[in-house]
């Protein structure tokens, strides 16, 4: 998918964040640069400790970068205290004020901005309607459920009409069903308000389903930025491919390049065409990834051959785990039908064919 040009809402330039001093120094963010566009649902995805929350806190202003710039619509906001940034946060555990009612919580930001009482009141009513909480406006925040608290936290952060809304794993405390509901709700709110959302999560599925673009982070670095489709189908590095979805890794010899594709000769001797990760430096040996659903199992000869080790039924599909003759493991995902089984049994000698558009060569 081509990169769509757009004005950037947030521009992070060479930001480093170091915690501790001397030998105990830890770089939570290691020279990160990323540009987040206006009206975008942008997700920072990574395992805990990857630096995604640190980056969010730097944008919010709770911490200050050790080096680098953070631009909001072209203006460097890195030295500003949080109360001078037109950026609001939805906290992981909501951080609603327990000594205030729902309406007081939502109106707090506007009140602090010195808006007239009538305007605050009108805006609070509007926000209550937006998150469907009109009936509970006079409740204390301890008297409402987790999902309702989540809505209030959203309304509170949206009420002052920030330029950018930061969301720090806001759905992680909710149960599965509520989480699904809130995912849709969040998308709706982003669409209706037209505010740039920066969403932090460690849940790859959440990231894929909700985001316009995703930045995958690990050990204080951004490994790849792209649309969910880019990230899933064209992973740049092993970590990205492994963290998002299931993947088969194969070692291959690169025997030629052309047309933006590489010719990769697998250990089985078969040669396939594969797309190439951004920034790939031509070299002799590389890792090739194939998603389980992009490979096909055959009883005849394929690009690879091996023995069925295990068959796992998942309802929508069946995962067939194969031990290749080269002793690598390979999983094939096969769509289920109502009437027939998967057609293979444990111990079967099988072939695996990899389609023309199924493989990607990684950068590393």
């Amino acid at each position: 998918m081509p990169e769509q040009p757009g004005k950037s809402a947030i521009e992070v330039r060479g930001v480093r964040k170091v915690f501790g001093t001397g030998d105990a120094q830890v770089a939570a963010l290691d020279t990160v640069s990323v540009s987040i566009r206006e009206n975008e649902f942008f997700t920072l995805l990574g395992p805990s400790g990857c630096g995604k929350t640190t980056l969010l806190r730097l944008i919010a202003g709770f911490d200050f970068p050790s080096a680098g710039e953070i631009l909001l619509h072209g203006q460097d906001i890195a030295p500003l205290p949080p109360f001078k940034r037109p950026v609001n946060t939805v906290f992981q555990n909501y951080a609603l004020f327990p000594h205030m009612t729902v309406a007081e919580n939502i109106g707090f930001g506007l009140e602090m901005l010195g808006k007239p009482k009538a305007e605050v009141k009108a805006r609070v009513a509007e926000m209550l309607k937006l998150v469907k909480m009109e009936a509970l406006s006079n409740r204390r925040t301890s008297q409402i459920s987790g999902g309702q608290q989540q809505r209030v936290a959203l309304a509170r952060a949206l009420a002052p009409q920030p330029k950018v809304l930061l969301l720090d794993e806001p759905l992680s405390a909710l149960d599965f069903k509520l989480r699904k509901e809130m995912q849709i709700e969040l998308k709706r709110l982003q669409h209706e308000t037209g505010i740039t959302f920066i969403f932090v999560t460690h849940d790859q599925e959440e990231a894929l389903t909700m985001s316009d673009r995703i930045a995958v982070m690990s050990s204080g670095k951004i490994l790849q930025v792209g649309t969910p489709w880019d990230i899933y189908d064209k992973p740049a590095e092993r970590f990205v491919a492994d963290f998002i979805g299931e993947t088969n890794f194969l070692t291959a010899a690169i025997t030629g390049m052309g047309n933006g594709k590489a010719r990769a000769t697998l250990k089985s001797g078969a040669t396939i065409d594969a797309t190439v990760a951004e920034g790939f430096q031509p070299k002799d040996n590389a890792t090739v990834v194939v998603r389980p659903e992009h490979a096909k199992l055959t009883s005849g000869k394929g690009d690879l051959s091996g023995t069925v080790e295990n068959i796992v039924y998942f309802g929508t599909d069946t995962h067939i785990q194969v031990r290749l003759d080269s002793s690598e493991a390979f999983t094939v995902r096969q769509q289920n039908t109502r009437s027939a089984g998967c057609g293979f049994e444990r111990g079967d000698k099988v072939g695996i064919s990899i389609g023309n558009d199924a493989a990607q060569v990684l950068r590393d």
């Binding site: 919010a60 205290p81 949080p82 906290f91 707090f108 930001g109 002052p160």
Partner: protein
Amino acid sequence: MASAEEVAKDAERREIRDRWLLSAPALIIIFLAATGPLLIVVIYSFLTPGPYGDVVWKFSTDGWLSVLMQRDIFDDTLAFADAHLSIFWRSAKLSFLTTIFTLLFGFPTAYFIATRPARQRNIWLFLITIPFWTNLLIRTFAIQEVIRNEGIVNTVLIKLGIISQPIQMMFTDFALMVGMTYVYLPLMVLPLYASMEKIDFRLVEAGYDLYANRFQVLRRVIIPLVKPGIVAGSILVFIPALGAYVTPRVLGGSKNMMLGNLIELQFGQGRNWPLGSALSLSLMAIVMVALLLYVRSVGRRGGAHG
């Protein structure tokens, strides 16, 4: 044969009896240690003073009347006397100021401790409680050493040439305030700390995030959250301050009397135990009324959590 109903009734009766027996030790202690002595004070306040202290078992309301009145020694008529009332007022005023000062100094102290890393906090708390290990009298004399005319402050100021005559600080309300604030500070810091430690500091961040500056975060977020600590600390300081005895005696001298000293006087040199008892009970009544008013006003202004 007993009917089922009777059996059930019997069991119930036995249960009630057992419950009384089990709570008897607690009830006895409450009576002997709290209610009993108080009852003696009430009785004494309605008796006649003996010539060498103690009481004579003869009913009299003179003890109570003397709280606010004075009997003329010639014609035995009663007239309003404000001597005791002014000491009551002074005590209330000084105790109130002590509460304010301990709050002013204790709040930042508690906040400082609560925001240290968890392992450091115990060391700071330990330092706060160290004064409790020393006798109150000795701590008060230490303050005297600092502020008396030949004390540290005056000596240094004279040596530096800032003043030529020592500043009279001993036996003034200033000395009293310094002493009382110092003595009662830990009683304010500890409950404040207990409240602050429980604060979720993300709420403070949320305040900053929603455009509240430092002062607004303090006023609108932190203070409402530590209100239980402020209430507890104020009560813990105000009540003992109202009955303070050692500090006003040592630092305030005989002119700057507080209630505690007035009551002590009646049981000592004054030899008027009924008056002393009546004054003690008046003090109790004042504390109770003050507490009720305070708790109610705090409750109305902010509303309780939850």
